[in-house]
């Protein structure tokens, strides 16, 4: 993801992008097919990208989607040392929140004869747990928030993230959209960071975000 223009050190740049939906997974413009239903397709992506993280299989589907999108967006990114990730944030937006797992948990308590609320399911009935999973995997300790909206409001999201860079709270950030309800899912995740000297990357601006997610 190079070659759009030469930037100054004060700029925030898009280092990497990944999208996943029911038909394809795209990492920085390179597309692979998403085969089968969510469970099959996400498992195949996990295996074909040589990810080894047993906790993945305990996650709910929303967290699996967010986790995998983050794994792929960071695939070719060289992260700073762990102690330098205190200002790497995760700011996400979703539409269905944790409703997919909420319904599952609800079924486990609504029938008095089969009343068995599972703590392992309940902990995933909050959408920001997906941000937590990404933080745990990558030792990211910066700003954290999950917003709910019908569609991804990039202007709001990017403006918010930019202001956190400007106020010195962030040096890098995973940000974007991650939504799932049953077999309806899609993720559009960026990894953005503060520009280092004379890097040749894409500025984190609304018009560039739009170009990338529309694959122009």
């Amino acid at each position: 993801m190079q070659g759009w223009c030469l930037k100054k050190m004060s700029d925030i740049i898009i280092k990497s992008h990944c999208s996943i939906n029911g038909t394809s997974a795209v990492i920085n413009g390179v597309s692979t097919l998403f085969n089968g239903d969510f469970a099959e397709g996400i498992r195949e992506l996990y295996r074909s990208n040589n990810i080894s993280y047993p906790k993945f299989f305990k996650m709910d589907n929303l967290s699996k989607l967010a986790f995998l999108a983050a794994e792929l967006v960071l695939k070719d990114v060289e992260l700073p040392e762990k102690q330098d990730r205190l200002k790497t944030g995760v700011i996400l937006m979703t539409s269905n929140s944790s409703l997919d797992t909420d319904c599952r948990f609800s079924q486990s308590i609504n029938n008095p004869e089969e009343y068995y609320p599972s703590p392992a399911v309940f902990v995933y009935t909050l959408p920001n747990v997906m941000a937590g999973e990404i933080c745990i995997r990558n030792s990211f300790q910066g700003e954290n928030c999950v917003y709910i909206n019908e569609v991804c409001d990039w202007e709001f999201l990017a403006g918010n993230v930019r202001s956190m860079f400007e106020s010195g709270k962030l040096d890098a950030c995973i940000c974007g959209w991650c939504d799932l309800f049953m077999e309806d899912f899609n993720a559009d995740i960026f990894y953005v960071e503060r520009c280092e000297e004379n890097q040749d990357y894409i500025p984190f601006k609304n018009e560039n975000i739009e170009k990338i997610i529309k694959n122009l």
Partner: protein, 376 residues
Amino acid sequence: MKSVFVENYSVLTGLGCNVEDNFNSILAGGCSINTEDFHGGKISLSRINNDAADRYSFKDVNISRLEKHLIISIEDALSSSSVYPEDPSTIFLISTTKGNIDNLDAVNPFKTDARRIRLHEMALFISSYFGNPNRPVTICNACISGLSAIITAKYLISAGKFKNAVVCGGDIISDFVMSGFSSLKAVSGEPSRPFDETRNGLSLGEACGALILTNENKAEEQILVAGCASSNDANHISGPSRDGGGLLLAIEASMREASICVDDVTSISAHGTGTVFNDEMESIAFERASLSDIPVYSLKGFFGHTLGAAGIIESILSIHAMKKNIILPSGGFVKPGISGNISVSAEHLYSQNNICLKTGSGFGGCNAGVVFKKNV
């Protein structure tokens, strides 16, 4: 960057239906947590006096309990405010963890329109009720949701995107949430006792609060949202970190943004759920932040853990205490049972209270700190 001032607020809890009632009840050591038939503190709308009940004639018969609470608290905050909800430069922010989740409960007489189980649909219903022309911001960030909403409102106002924000938080006690926390064995059999040596879990509570923020300094002595930050433990999705490192990051970053040092802080409104590990973690973080001598309290022993409302209502009551130069007591506290060296008091104190640090921590490993500062 524009300054962000607190303009007005309202609180609805099991203790009372306005700020003064809640405040006085806290000073008198009141507790709305019922542990006889269920373990939590519920809002009883019948406690709202008849005048108020007449005012709230809801046209939408399918309105949910939470929606009713949200509307009542926003209406209360707006009634003595100079901010107009219809103003295009006013934005609504709604903080909730589970919204209308009682729609999924097997038995519920207050089922709402099925679409409004989606949080953004519920938020839009609320902002539209008040005639606000903007798409509301909906925040669902576990138990720091309320603080995240204040942080987001501060960004929107200081960046000049909006002049005013109506920041509202609410959650209700549902079978869903009660059975979930019970399954985690996190619910105390008695009203919760944050930071106390006998504490053995949290009590759930339901509440709503509305906080009106603005960029206009309308009074001589105003409270500013001076600094804020969030962080993640990067440790565990449901257990607090052992060393308080994540919370420490949020505390330090919020104080840096407010340009204050530890000696400036006059009170700390902690998260203090009453679980063994949460309170332990917080005590360590406060000590590591060199805040051992600053009075710290949790309000959850009075009305329980109110989830998406907690950050909002606990901030509001702490702001109210700043205005009165009172430092609030810590509900249910008798004797310290944490390893971090901190100053918790069961009694309220009359003392200059110019800077309050509000903190929160939640599932997913998230933490937040917000600094409220008196503009003197």
